[in-house]
Symmetry: C4
Subunit: 379 residues, 4 copies
C-alpha cells in the first residue's frame, strides 16, 4: 500500500510498522471481543436515507462544544500509551488535532506528560481516571488547569481493568520481568523502523503523568500493574462531586452506557457525557454504542452535551452517531492507527478523510449543517 484511503488502511500500515505487542494492544478488545465487533457491525447496520436535488454546495461542518468552536464535531479520544506508537506520539497527535481544528484528549496514562503537550500544542482536553491516592488526583487536576486544558474527561468505566486476552498472548501483560522484556525486545527488533525512530529516539517511555509518584518503576512493564493497583473501585457519584468541586471548566463523564447513569451524571454536575464502552476493551458483552446511544440521548439530550465513541471508523460513522443523537463523536483506534503509521501527518490526513466523508454523507442525506443531522436521515 502506498497511501491510506481509509482508517482500515491505516490499521494495516500500523500493523506493519509496530512491534506485535503494541499493535495487539491497540487493536484488541476484552475477552471474546463480542462488543468490539458489535461496535462496528451495529454502526454499519445503521441505514442512511438518501435525499437528492437539494442544494448542497455549501456544507458547514463547524459546531460548538462546551463553548469551543470546532471545525467539525469530532475529537481524538484518550488513548493510553499513544506515545509508544510514534516518537513523542501525544505531541504529534495534539498538533494534528490543532491543525484540523478539533480537540485532542490526553490520557492519564500517556507517555508525554501534560506539560510537554501543553508546550507544543493548543489547549486540549485531559482525561482523568479515579485514582486511590486522592492527593495525586488533585495534583493532576491542578496540572491540567496549569496546562490550560479546556475540558476534563472523567473516565468511569474502569473501576477494575477488563482482561484483554491479546495482551496476555502478545507478552505485553502477564509475562513479567526479564522474560517479558526479552519477548517484547524481540518483537521490536523485527520492526527496525519503529525500533530506531520510537524505541530509541522516542524515549523516555514511562507514563509521563504518573512518573512522579512511580519513581523509577515507571516503565512500560509497570503500566498494567500500576493501573490494577491504583485505580479506585470504591468510586461513586459522590466522587464526581469531589472532582466537580476541584474543576471549574467543562466536566465530561466518559463511559456511560445506561440512561439511568446518564441521568445520574447530569444530576451530579457533569456538563457532558461520552456514551462509550471503551472501544470494547472493558466489559465484553455490553451493548454497542450505536445501540446504547438513542435512549441515552432521549434521556439527557439537551440537559448535557452527549458525545459518543466506540466503533467509529469513517466520516459516515460520525454522521451515523450524530443521527443517533450524539452532539459530537470521538475517534479512538482511528487516530492511534494513523499515528502509528505516519505520525502527525497521518493523523492530519486521517482527519481530512473523515471530513471529506462527512461532507459526502451530508450532501447525500441533504444536510448542509450539523444540526440538520437528526434521526430523520435514518432509513
Amino acid at each position: 500500500m502506498t497511501a491510506a484511503a481509509s482508517t482500515l488502511d491505516y490499521r494495516a500500515l500500523a500493523r506493519a510498522r509496530l512491534p506485535h505487542f503494541l499493535f495487539e494492544y491497540i487493536d484488541g478488545g476484552s475477552y471474546a471481543e463480542v462488543t468490539l465487533q458489535r461496535n462496528v457491525t451495529d454502526l454499519a447496520e445503521v441505514a442512511l436515507r438518501q435525499r437528492v436535488m437539494t442544494d448542497v454546495s455549501a456544507i458547514d461542518l463547524s459546531t460548538e462544544l462546551f463553548g469551543q468552536r470546532l471545525a467539525m464535531p469530532v475529537a481524538l479520544a484518550p488513548v493510553g500509551l499513544a506515545g509508544m506508537n510514534a516518537r513523542r506520539g501525544e505531541v504529534q497527535a495534539a498538533r494534528a488535532a490543532q491543525a484540523a481544528g478539533v480537540p485532542f484528549c490526553l490520557s492519564t496514562v500517556s507517555v508525554c506528560p501534560l506539560a510537554e503537550v501543553a508546550a507544543a500544542a493548543a489547549p486540549f482536553w485531559f482525561q482523568l481516571y479515579m485514582i486511590r491516592d486522592r492527593a495525586f488526583m488533585i495534583d493532576l487536576i491542578d496540572q491540567a488547569r496549569a496546562a490550560g486544558c479546556s475540558a476534563l474527561v472523567f473516565t468511569v468505566d474502569m473501576p477494575v481493568p477488563g482482561s484483554r486476552y491479546r495482551d496476555l498472548r502478545s507478552g505485553l501483560a502477564g509475562a513479567a520481568g526479564i522474560a517479558g522484556s526479552l519477548r517484547r525486545a524481540w518483537q521490536a527488533a523485527r520492526r527496525p523502523g519503529w525500533a530506531w525512530d520510537v524505541g530509541l529516539q522516542g524515549r523516555p517511555h514511562h507514563l509521563g503523568n504518573v512518573a512522579p509518584v512511580l519513581g523509577s518503576n515507571s516503565g512500560l512493564e509497570d503500566f498494567l500493574g500500576w493501573m490494577r493497583n491504583n485505580f479506585d473501585p470504591t468510586v461513586t457519584w459522590r466522587d464526581l462531586e469531589f472532582v466537580r468541586s476541584r474543576w471549574d471548566g467543562p466536566l465530561i463523564v466518559k463511559g456511560i452506557l445506561d440512561p439511568d447513569d446518564a441521568r445520574l451524571a447530569a444530576d451530579h454536575g457533569a456538563d457532558g457525557i461520552i456514551v462509550s464502552n471503551h472501544g470494547g476493551r472493558q466489559l465484553d458483552g455490553v451493548l454497542s454504542s450505536a445501540k446504547a446511544l438513542p435512549p441515552i440521548a432521549d434521556a439527557v439530550g439537551g440537559r448535557v452535551t452527549v458525545l459518543a465513541d466506540s466503533g467509529v471508523r469513517s466520516g459516515l460513522d460520525v454522521v451515523r452517531m450524530l443521527a443517533l443523537g450524539a452532539d459530537g463523536v470521538l475517534l479512538g483506534r482511528a487516530w492511534a492507527y494513523a499515528l502509528a503509521a505516519a505520525g502527525e501527518q497521518g493523523v492530519r490526513h486521517m482527519l481530512g478523510l473523515i471530513e471529506v466523508e462527512m461532507r459526502v454523507a451530508m450532501a447525500l442525506t441533504g444536510c448542509t449543517n450539523i444540526p440538520a443531522i437528526t434521526r430523520d436521515i435514518l432509513a
Copy 2:
C-alpha cells in the same frame, strides 16, 4: 473456465483480462461497501412463490417502456469509462443491446462520444450529469437530440462523488502524475491481451463527450478530477425543470431512494425514475434498491415509469425487481463484466442468459407475460 454460465463467471473472466485498476474500478463500491453487499444479499432474500401446472408454453417477455417496444424489460445502465473494458467498448455494448432488443444507455463520461455510438447502433438512451457549466450541458442535450437518443437519463445521486477506497488502493485515483501512470502501465503490462487490443488499438482513451471542453487534459487520469470539479452540487428540482424545458423526449431521473424524492421527481416533470443507489458506489449505508423499491412503487407507480437497478446479477433478480414493483430493470456491472470478458459477443450472450433465466422464473411462478409479475409471486 471455457464458457460463462452466469454474470459471476463473466466477472471472473473480466478479472483475468483487465488490468487490476480497471477491474477494481468496475467491481468496487464506496467506503466499507456495505450497500454494495446489501444490494446482492437483499435481492437474494426475496423469496419467490412457485406455482405449477399452469400452461407456460408461451411466455411473452416483451414490454413497452416510454413508447418503445422492448424484447424484455431490461436496459443497459450507464457505465462510465466502459470504453476501457473493450476496444471502443460503448459501441460494442450498444450493438449487443440492439441485437437483443433492449435499450443501451450511454454515460456522460463514456470513452466513445455520442456521435460515434449513434453512427454504429440504433437509438439509445443518454445519461446526463448535472454539470456546473450550463452551456456545456445544453450542448450535450443538443448532441443527444442530434444523435437521436430515445430517452434522457438524468443522474441525481452524484452532487459530490463518493469515495471508493479501491480506486485509491489500485492507483486509479489518488496517485497523480507520473507515479500513477507508471503504476497503471505496469498493471496493464501484466494483461497483454488487453494491452494490445484495448490499450493500444482502442485509442483514443479520453472522455469522448467531455473532450471538447477539456482540451488535451482529457485522459483517464483527468477523469476523477474533472468529475470532482465539474459536477454541480447546487442542483435542485428547479434544475430538473431546466433540463425538462430543453428536452422533449422521455426524461428519466436516476438515483432515487426515497418516496418523497420520487414524488418530487414526478412533480417536476420526470417521465420515469430509476430506483438506484448507483450500484453501492455513492453513499454507502443507504438501503438496497430491493428494500427501497416497494414503498417508492407504491408512492408513484402509475404516475411515472419506475425502473430499478443495483445488485441485479441474473434473470431471477430481474423478475424479483419486477415483482417488487419495477416496470423495468437496468443492468450495470453485469454488462460491464461481460463486455470486458468477451466484447459485443459477451454482452449478447449475457443478455441471452438473462432472458432464459427470466423465462424459467416466469414459468415456475406461473407468469406468461410481464404484467403478470406482481407482488403476488413473492412468497
Copy 3:
C-alpha cells in the same frame, strides 16, 4: 476416511470417487444456489424439544403409506442418471431400499430401464415427467404397471429445466460434441476406480426408459438436450386427470410448494403430494421445504398423504420434517452420495444411520412411534 459416519461423509467419499462432472451434477443446485442452502439451514434451525424420563425402550418406526407397510417413513427420491454413480446403480439402490424396508423411486431418466430394476428388486415407485409425446407417456405408464410399480410419482416442477451453473462449468452441459466428450473423458480418467467399475463395466449408459424413442442418440450427452426438447410446458391440472385415468394405483404429485397448488392436486385426484423444490435444482429463490411444508400440511393434511423432501441429511432431519407435518420423507442426494461411494452396501448403511438417528431423536423427544411426532415436539 475409513468409514462414513454421516451422509456428509458419504458426500466426501463420492467426491473422491466420481469424475468431477458427475459429482457436480449431483451436488449442485440451480442459479446462485440460494434455495439449495436454505433447504439445509432452515431445517437445521428447526429446534427440537427434548423430553426426558419417558420409557423409550420400545420405539416403533414403522408406518403405512399408500397401503404399504414400511420399516420407517422414508423413501429414496427419484434421482436421474443414478446409474452413472455405480454399476447399474438404480438396481443396487433398489435392492438396498428393499433390504431396509422402504420404497425406492425410479426416475424417468434412469440409466437402468424399468424392467431391469423390476427383475432385480421388490415393487418400487416410478417417477414420471410430463412428456410432449403422449403416446410415449402412456407407454411408460403401461411399463410401470407391468413392472408392478406400487406408486406413480408425477413430477410437476420441471415444465422447463432450471439452469445449473455447475453443469455448465463442469462440462456436463453446454460443451457439446467432441470437446465435451473429451473433457468428461479426461475427468473420468482421473478417477480410475470409477472408470473401470462404472465407466466400462456399467454399460450401457443411456437413459434406459427413453432409449427406445431416442434410438442411437441416447447417450449421456443427449440427456439434457432431450429434457429440454421433450418436457412439456403446456401441462395443466387437466393433464393430471389424464394420468389419473391411466393409472389405478397411488398417484403422488411431486414438486408442490404452495398451499393452493396442494389443494388443486387433491382436487384433481392425487393420493399424495411431495412438498419439494427439487433439491434446490429448479427455481432458485423459492422457499425451503421446511418453510413451505407447515401451511401445506394445514391445507391438505388428512385429505392426501403429504410427503416432503429437499435438504434432508440425517435422521434428525427426517424427524424434523415429520414434526413439521409430513407423513413421510424422501432422501435425494443422501442416497446418491452413498451409492456413489459404496454401492448397494453404502445405501443400506446410510439407511441404517438414518434409522439409528431417528431412534435417538424420538427417544429424546419422548416419541415411541411415528404418529407421536407432531409439532408438539418443536421448541
Copy 4:
C-alpha cells in the same frame, strides 16, 4: 503460546498435547453440531447492562448450594474418561476444585474409581447414569455414600447415546478390534508427552467404577459399547423415586431442557436440576441452555435449586447464566481442556481466570454479591 489467557487458549494447548481421538472426543458434539454452536453463540448474544460509579471495592462471590458454602457458584461438571486427559485426571481435577472452593463432580464413567478420588480430595459430587442392572446402581450409590459424596447428580438425558460423528471419524468409536487400537496407538505415538505421562504412567485406563462388573473387558474400547448396552431407556420418573429412596443427600437431576420436565423433577423429589443439553453431545437441534433456562427458572426457581451448563467458556458466561436465572453454573469442556493442557495446575489456573472474570463482570454491572445478579443486569 506460553500461558493460557482463557479457556480457548487451554483448548489450543489441549489439542497440541492430546492424541487426536481424545481431543475430538472432548471437543465434539453430536450430529451436525448445531446445538454445540448454539450454546456458545446464544450465550455471547446475551447483552449485559453496564453500570458505573457504584462502590465495587468489595465483591463477594461466595454462595451456598445444597447447604454447602462455595467460593463461587461454579462446579466442575461430570466428564467421562477425564482420567485419559491427564495422569489419574479425576484426582487432579478434584484437588483443583477443592483448592478453589468449588465442587467437583465425578462421572459414572470416570477412569479413577470413587474410592481413589475420595482418598485424595474433599467431598465431591457423584454423577449417576440409569443403568439396566439395578443391583449395580444400588452398589454405586452405596459407594458414593461411603466416599462421602456431598450430592448425587442423576443424568437423565442419555437414555440412548447420541451419535458423535467425530468419534467415528477419529477412530474412537466404530473402529473395533485391533484396527481401532492400532489407529489410536498411532495417534498417541504422535503425542509423546501424553503417551509417556498419561498413556504409560497413568494406568490403568479402565472405567474405574464399572470395572468390577465388566471384568477384563473394561478398557477404553469397551466404553461406548458398555454405555450402549447398559444405559437404561426404560427409565421414568418412578425411577427417580427409586434413586431418591436410596439417597438421603442432595439429589440433582441433570439434563433438563423443558419447563414441564423441570416441574416433574421437582414433583418427584429432586433438590436441584441442571439445565443442560449435555454440551451439545446428545440430541442435536435442541435449544441452547441460554435459551432454555429462563422459562425453566420461572417455572421451578425457588422450589428447587436451578443449575445450568453447556457453552460456558468464561466468567462472563457464568454471570450471564446467573442473570438468566441459574443459582449455579457447571463447567464441562473448560476444565477438561485445562486438565489436558496442564493438569491440576491448569484447572486451578482456569478457575482463577473464571473468578477474576466474574469479578470484572460484577464490578461493571454494579453487583457486589451473587444474589444481586438478576435479569435486571441484562441489556
